[in-house]
Amino acid sequence: MSTVLSTRPPEDDRRPGELTFRELLRWIWRQVTSMRTALILLLLLALAAIPGSVIPQTGVDSLKTSNWQSDHPKLTPVYERLGLFSVYDSAWFSAIYILLMISLVGCIVPRTFHYWRGMRAKPPAAPSNLTRLPDHATYGTTEAPEAVLERATALLKRRRYRLSTPDGGDSVSAERGYLREVGNLVFHLSVLVVLVGFGLGSMFGYKGGVILLVGDDFGFSNNLTQYDEFKPGSLFRTDDMEPFSFKIDDFDVDWLTTGRRAGMARGFQSHLTYREGRDSPEKKYDLRVNHPLSIGNTDVFLIGHGYAPTITIKDAEGNVSGGPTPFLPTSQSFQSIGVVKAPDAEPTQIGLEGEFYPTVAFSDETGSYYSLLGKPYDPMISMLVYTGDLGMDDGSSQSVYALDKSKTTMLTKKDGTPYRLDLRPGETAKLPNGLGSVTFEKVPGVEGGVQRWNKIQISQTPGKWIALTGVVMALIGLLGSLFIRPRRVWVRARREGDGTLVEVAALDRSGGGDVSVVVDELVATLQGPPDKREDQS
């Protein structure tokens, strides 16, 4: 690099080896775009991706991340400063791949020019001594050198070599495999295309989820307020949301009834009715896992389901609150946990916390209920009752699956054991001390009398086709750059004594290719079949 300096006499009082600003820039550019740097950056990228697979990531699983953080109070601030909870958005991860991209561009641009020149250049003339090349062969013949060269030219042309015959020369130069470099360039360019597509998706797209109850009374229309969770890209605008709406008419689960996983759901599908716009006609779609519904640029996915027991609480004054409450499944057999809150109950707020069993069974071993099957043959809820301040008045958001029990008391029986509500659909239990009553409502027309919910994921990923096109192009380019073998072949024929000495040599320019086969085959064909050779001699 410093040889740049020596071509010019020092015009100022610089110390030897000192660089001007421009030279420094050029030096940096050369370093960044060198193959060695690219290689190190690649390895760094691989290394940098590792922490994100071991440490929970906010962007991947925020609940798990916050649990981890509360378990590790000492490490959390350190990790947070290092960006280890969102590795793939962190400055250092971005720095690596941005540097890699710069290095890539720095590689591609000069190579494209270089290739463009090479593309139109003629195959280089034969080296003066062909037998010095590692793969070569010679033979003698009585044919005239011109005849041999003519035949070699025709032969190589048929094999789609590019040819050049220097005027008055005694040799033919041939080259093929120009597309290898094209493949190489296409591959590297495609990496940039993929990155653009990926970037568009994460900047302009969004991903949201909603828990929607099954039935005509419930529905979803695509605007921000209807989502339970919403993760927009940094440049996402709500104007981009498409004005569709849907409701779940019916929901089927295909339960396994035999075999080792009996009781497990094999498949499930939601029968949707949707409108693409406010005034569009209604359409139907059966939504299943692996079969999303596409509306415009938005995709709608079914990713989960569960039960939403309809539980109502009647307080001491006769005010009724409650309704279908989604419970969170915790096992294959849909044993689910959930919470019902009645913040407006008088004289005191009431909260219920407990489990739902689609088909209840009692285990003598553990002394508790469990769910035998996911199908609701004999549904039951078992809840504990809490009274007091549920902590919902201070305005902070609360999980719908958890109860803030810090300022509440649990209802107990006279002997001090917890007061437990075990209810089947249609049953009502009176709360002690005249607090009111709790009813597990039987919903008519629904399997088991228990309402269902579906977890619907909705996402818009602009640029996904760009990214896909990019990867496919990259693969095609890769195949070209790996399997097209660029090679040069030379044939020289000159008189020697009575006959003609023919020299054939080949050079593999990709490294790793075995061209001795090419030479042997070419010589055999040039010499013609053995019997013909016999005639000539």
Binding site: I50, A265, R288
Partner: protein, 338 residues
Amino acid sequence: MTDAAWESFSNQAVAAAGLLYFLALLSHLVEWASLRKVPLASGPDASSSIDIPGGVAVATGPDSEQAEDRARRTALFGRLGYLISCLAVAVHAVALFARGMAADPNRVPWGNMYEFTLTGTFVVAFLYVVLYRKFRLAWMAPIVLAFVLTVLMVAVIWLYAPVAPLTEALSSYWLVIHVVSAIIATGAFTLGGITSALYLVKERSLAKKGPQQTGYVARLPQPEALDRVSYRLHAFGFPVWTFAVLITGPIWAHQAWSSYWNWDPKEVWAFITWVVYAAYLHARTTAGWKGRNAAILALVGVATLWFNFIGINYFSTTSQHSYAGGAPAPISAETMDR
């Protein structure tokens, strides 16, 4: 046959395949043990001086009849080992087929770790048997067979799971495309990794002892030849891996999980593997990285590959690749938390 009969048939076939791999390994070990007494061939034609193409270099010098006899016996055991390997691969294939027939409904046998490992080892053994002649892989025999046998035993002892229906997210035709390409690439990379390891061994021994080598290492092909075979295996595996991890994986992820790239631990490690092999391919054309460093990169690649296949399941619990866990929770529970 009933499903249960298919299942026990599959288990028996796995045991039989294991036994055959073991016999093949023994046969090759006998071959290599008796090769120690056979003088080392010299000259460039040594590699083809045996009656079966791809066989081990054996001198057929004019020494004595006894030596010639020994050489013939050695060759016999080599051939026997190869034939038993072929048989083992066939039985292995039957085991896989029976495993698929045992499920209701019938399906591709890639539902859990046991089945993946069964298929992965099959592909390694299959590629070895198929490429044996083309790449003259005789020197690889004891190592490939020991590897396949060990991994197969790990699968049977620790990973075994009874046949069960696929979870909803797995029942897609993308399972066939995605997994078949991932497993083929895994097989090619594994063979490439073995070759690269042997390249390092050979190179080191050449540097230390010069051409005066003994034993197994002496009969390995020259480093250049090993490097070329290794490169070809990797050059085959890399596009297939690209297809599996960066094309079919994202497409399927988009269909099943609603976004094509989730930074799921399996995805991250598949990406890491991809980057390491990309670095390997670059290293081969970079001055100062050729040869030794490139071979080390290939070994790093194979380590990340197998770590992703088995290891990451024990380090991370957030993976959505539902076959990885013991009993997959209903997907609703997993995704609800997010």
